[in-house]
């Protein structure tokens, strides 16, 4: 991640918000000065080394720091970890996601983990043990999560109120179960020695090792170079795989895991779970949150929302189930260029694979009515060949040829290897028949009066669930955004790169439309479709008056959405005769949008800080121990009103930061 000024500022503000000023100042210094040792830091910050160490310890605890010790060196070098610092902004979102997919107890565990940074399992267990005992002894009430800074939304408050019924985590065995499930979902992984080193350091170490082990005489020739790269990638993969050791161990205990997988989804709702099935986790292991995997799930949510915006809720729900199945084993949104470059043939995690209709059907909630959300058309109005068109390979876009090709190969490989899908092909042929005559009933053309024939109604009801599901999937596949690719008969996959491209474009479009109006959007999209366009040609395509158009273009140029290029006709470069070519550089717009987003987030937090300053007297009152928790009863009415208004603003501002982060993640991380 390229750290620009607004990001650095934002990270410092976030750390200040969550962990206090001391770590924040040190972190800001690390970002501006680069890797430093303790004496250097104390010099920069004019703090005593003792203070600096305190701050570093906090940062280290929350994984906001890398360190590196050269062999034989006395002092360690510390370096900021801006990615994790930025991820702090997503805390609320991650918790909400855990809440909806794994239930409130899991969220509680995750929250403790977020608050305490990386934690030894035994410590976590002890903490919960104490809490459970306390709750059992005394009346319920005091949650450990007093004023959690980045409390994102109202939902958080709600769950706290329900919590008063008793502790969410009922026993240490329950805790163990939750941890197991989170580990299996890869949302939690293990901390190991290498996870404190920056990726550059790891790369260097691996390079050195490979050099010493395989190429003592140096790397010579193309073949050796390729092998060298291969070995490095392998080494890096090994390092990366280390953090998954806990998951692997769980998977070796095959039966329990499998059982749970079958039950997953159900158990979250019921809450009752066979706890004895889970193996106890090694209490010495240190665990932390795996943001990479969290991002995958967040991306799924965003895509579902996108589909809901573009097509409809029911279809989006189906899409959500498909994505969930598809990304179960997808460790990260964007593959690493070094590590994942050539390893696709052996690694199953490359490429999203595919999901069969059957699998989706099994995971759909029975309460969802699939007949909703799709129009009806007579069968003769439907071209089933066009709808059922199978595209075995991802679309080849100019820009993404390499990546998509790799993807395609990988998924093709998997299809062959996946014996599950071949088993299910029997079922497939079963519901192909209803699917072809599936869309029946009324005709959809609007001008004509819709008549319900006697036969149509019972027919309507006969359309079975699998074929309705297929209809939703086919709509997704036909959409201009290419949400889904029908990659084999009854097999579905998602090409994330083009879908995300279209989502990014949609985000950019909505910003343009909101700031420059529909005509602005029209012009930008024309330029995007046609490339560079002469100023004189533009009015004809856009059907706009020249002066209006020029004004709009200038407006958008100032906003950074389009640029102009002057091409002189001859050597004299007469301005009157020159061509003026308008074009839009999409990547530049994205970058500019990102920058604006960071700054907006910074501003939000700063506004909050200003509000805090202003309401200082009120806030100080609320910090008193005799007031805390009973604000409404103990505070004067006017004070309490100010306080609640402040809380409102705080909530709004944080929610806003979240919303902006939605955009940032789409543009940068997904």
């Amino acid at each position: 991640m390229l750290v620009t000024k607004p990001i650095a500022e934002l990270c410092a503000l976030l750390i200040d918000e969550l962990h206090g000023e001391l770590p924040s100042r040190i972190f800001a210094m690390l970002l501006s000065k680069g890797r430093s040792t303790v004496p250097q830091l104390s010099q920069y910050t004019s703090m005593t080394p003792r203070q600096v160490r305190h701050g570093l310890a906090v940062l280290q605890q929350h994984n906001l720091l890398f360190y590196h010790v050269d062999p034989g060196a006395e002092l360690a070098f510390y370096e900021a970890n801006p990615d994790h610092a930025y991820n702090l902004v997503r805390t609320g979102k991650i918790l909400e996601m855990i809440d909806t997919t794994f239930g409130a107890p899991a969220k509680d565990v995750m929250q403790s983990l977020l608050l305490s940074g990386q934690t030894r399992i035994s410590d976590l267990v002890a903490a919960y043990q104490e809490k459970i005992e306390q709750a059992n002894k005394s009346a319920p009430g005091v949650g450990d999560d007093g004023d959690f800074g980045a409390e994102p939304n109202g939902a958080d408050g709600d769950s706290q109120s329900t919590k008063s019924g008793g502790p969410l985590v009922k026993s240490t065995a329950h805790l163990n179960t939750i941890l197991c499930r989170l580990v299996e979902a890869e949302l939690i992984d293990v901390v190991h020695a290498k996870s404190f080193e920056s990726s550059e350091d790891i790369l260097k170490t691996v390079e050195k090792e490979v050099m010493a082990k395989y190429f003592p005489g140096g790397v010579k020739g193309n073949k050796a170079k390729a092998e060298f790269q291969e070995r490095i990638a392998e080494g890096l993969r090994k390092v990366r795989g280390e953090s998954k050791s806990l998951k692997r161990k769980l998977e070796q205990n095959g039966t329990a895991a499998k059982r749970r997988r079958l039950l997953s989804g159900i158990s979250a709702v019921n809450g009752v779970h066979d706890e004895d099935m889970d193996p106890a986790l090694d209490p010495r292991q240190v665990i932390r949150i795996n943001y990479e995997k969290c991002l995958v799930d967040l991306r799924n949510r965003r895509l579902v929302q996108y589909a809901s915006d573009m097509i409809g809720e029911t279809t989006a729900y189906v899409y959500g189930v498909l994505l969930k199945l598809l990304t179960k084993d997808l460790p990260r949104c964007r593959s690493d260029p070094v590590m994942d470059a050539e390893g696709d043939n052996e690694e199953s995690e490359k490429g999203p694979g595919s999901v069969t209709t059957e699998q989706i059907l099994d995971n759909l909630k029975t309460s969802v009515d699939l007949s909703l959300g799709i129009g009806k058309a007579e069968r003769r109005h439907i071209s089933s060949t066009a709808a059922e068109k199978i595209e075995s390979f991802p679309p080849k876009k100019k820009r993404f040829i390499e990546e998509t090709e790799v993807d395609g190969e990988a998924s093709a490989d998997e299809d062959e290897g996946d014996d599950e899908s071949s088993e299910e092909s029997d079922y497939d042929s079963d519901y192909k028949a209803p699917a072809t005559n599936g869309t029946n009933g009324v005709n959809g053309t609007n001008g004509t009066r819709v008549k319900f024939e006697e036969a149509a109604a019972p027919k309507e009801r006969r359309m079975d669930r699998p074929s309705m599901l297929r209809q939703h999937l086919l709509i997704l596949a036909e959409s201009t955004q290419r949400f889904v690719r029908h990659c084999g008969s009854n097999e579905w996959t998602v090409d994330f790169i083009p879908v995300m491209d279209s989502l990014r474009e949609a985000e950019l479009d909505s910003v343009i439309e909101r700031t420059c109006g529909r005509q602005g959007l029209r012009l930008v999209r024309i330029l995007r479709a046609k490339g560079k366009l002469d100023e004189k040609a533009l009015p004809n395509v856009a059907l706009m008056r020249k002066p209006e158009l020029q004004q709009k273009m200038l407006e958008m140029q100032t906003a950074g959405f389009v640029s102009v290029q002057e091409v002189p006709r001859d050597l004299k470069a007469d301005v009157k005769k020159s061509f003026f070519l308008w074009f839009c550089d999409v990547d530049r717009s994205y970058n500019r949008l990102l920058d604006t987003s960071y700054r907006t987030m910074v501003h939000c937090v700063q506004v909050l800080e200003a509000l805090r300053q202003k309401e200082r007297d009120v806030l100080e009152t609320t910090k008193r121990t005799d007031v805390r928790g009973r604000e409404k009863d103990t505070m004067r009415k006017s004070y309490y009103e100010r306080y609640s208004r402040f809380l409102d603003c705080e909530r709004k501002l944080f929610a806003q930061v979240m919303r902006v982060d939605d955009l940032v993640s789409v543009l940068r991380d997904f």
């Binding site: 997919t101 395509v541 856009a542 059907l543 501003h603 919303r659």
Partner: protein, 422 residues
């Protein structure tokens, strides 16, 4: 004898002249260029006598019945000119006027700039002006406007209509882009595509409960009781009949009263739903053009398919419609069907005129998407670039944020604080 011969010659030439002129008129329109060979092949001139031909053609040219043109490929060639036109030439008082008129004549439907006339003829400006004045008063030429060069004074033969290039096609009226016409037509085309490409159906309110508002995304994870009752049952017969009433009488949908069925499921709303994949009847440009033609909205301008294509393209660029290819058919469908307004646009406009629904934005198509950036004050802030802590404009004294947080009364309280600061 010699004079006799001459007289005889002139009679002969006169006859040949008329015969040649008539024959040429038979063989092509005014714009056809006849080369020497073409004329000889008409078999009017006996024995292919070139001298005779020369004389005849010369006489015809003198009478302005033939126009000589220099063709780069075929050399010299001639076009015929109608007798009425020729008469106009002969009645002109002097050579200058003839030259000016002929140059305007040559320019044809594109018209010609008065300065070009001057430059071409190398005449004094006053002379050209006089000639033009005379011609205009006679009604031979008219001034015109060219879209590409709106400031140039152009002239055209009064009998001709300005070419499409000069007028800019059907989208221009009197040299100006007729935006009102275009907007109106866009609206019609959009409504047409919308109703033809999406299914008007009803959908129960998510959440079931009447006051639940519109929660757009189905909440996963926790299923509320209301939701189960609403969606758990598949479409019942009552709902279907309900569907029927709404589709047959759209006005019923507008009033939200689904009283036709008299059923209890009045919580459903009318929405547009996407068509199933592979739908073959998304309207194509040809169909839209036919629709526009049949309705006769554009009674004095004819719109070709290319023009409609241009219009549909603009709608596509606006993000209102999208192209779908089903098989070989290139149809257009409305984008984001579910979010579309089920009440036609013109009805909304009328409602507005009546004073209803003023709070709703009057735009075609669905509400544009929004994201965090466009909602925050910063996304639309005019001084965003200047805004920085410690600067003249900073987040801590931002008025937009205070408005946004609904703390409008506070700016007054803030102002003295800022003033106090050095």
């Amino acid at each position: 004898m010699a004079s006799d011969g001459k007289a005889e010659d002139s009679v002969k030439i006169q006859i040949l002249k008329d015969a040649l002129y008539d024959e040429m008129r038979q063989h092509g329109s005014e714009s056809r260029a006849f080369s020497q060979k073409d004329i000889l092949d008409l078999n009017i001139i006996p024995n292919g006598n070139l001298e005779l031909l020369l004389q005849v053609v010369q006489r015809l040219c003198d009478d302005k019945l033939l126009v000589g043109i220099a063709n780069h490929h075929a050399g010299m060639a001639w076009r015929w000119r109608s007798k009425e036109e020729a008469k106009k030439y002969t009645t002109l008082p002097n050579d200058e006027t003839v030259m000016v008129y002929s140059i305007i004549d040559e320019a044809g439907a594109d018209g010609i700039w008065n300065r070009t006339i001057k430059n071409k003829l190398n005449m004094h400006e006053a002379v050209v002006k006089n000639c033009i004045k005379f011609l205009e008063s006679k009604g031979y030429i008219a001034s015109m406007k060219n879209v590409e060069h709106p400031n140039k004074k152009m002239y055209i033969k009064a009998t001709l209509r300005p070419s499409e290039r000069a007028t800019g096609g059907p989208w221009f009226t009197e040299g100006e882009l007729d935006t009102a016409f275009i907007t109106e037509l866009e609206g019609i085309v959009f409504e047409y595509i919308k109703t033809k490409s999406a299914y008007r159906g009803s959908q129960p309110h998510p959440g079931g409960a009447a006051g639940a508002g519109t929660t757009k995304v189905p909440k996963r994870g926790a299923v509320t009781a209301g939701e189960t009752t609403a969606r758990g049952t598949k479409r019942s017969a009552t709902e279907i009949s309900n569907d029927d009433t709404t589709t047959s009488s759209p006005s019923a949908a507008q009033t939200k009263g689904t009283s036709g069925g008299g059923t209890a499921t009045s919580k459903s709303r009318t929405v547009f739903l996407p068509m199933p994949a592979g739908y073959k009847h998304y309207p194509t440009v040809a169909e839209i053009a036919k629709f526009i033609h049949d309705t006769g909205i554009t009674n004095n301008t004819t719109l070709g398919e290319a023009d409609i294509q241009q219009l549909v393209d603009v709608l596509t660029y606006d993000g209102l419609v999208e192209m779908v290819r089903v098989g070989r058919r290139r149809g257009y469908r409305v984008a984001r069907a579910v979010k579309q307004d089920t009440v036609p646009f013109h009805k909304r406009q009328k409602e507005r005129e009546a004073g209803n629904g003023l709070d709703l934005p009057l735009v075609q198509g669905a509400e544009p998407l929004s994201n965090g950036l466009t909602e925050a004050p910063c996304g639309r802030c005019p001084v965003f670039q200047l805004c920085e802590e410690g600067g003249p404009v900073s987040p801590s004294n931002c008025v937009y944020f205070l408005q946004w947080l609904e703390l409008e009364d506070l700016p007054k309280a803030v102002a003295p604080n800022v003033a106090v600061q050095p």
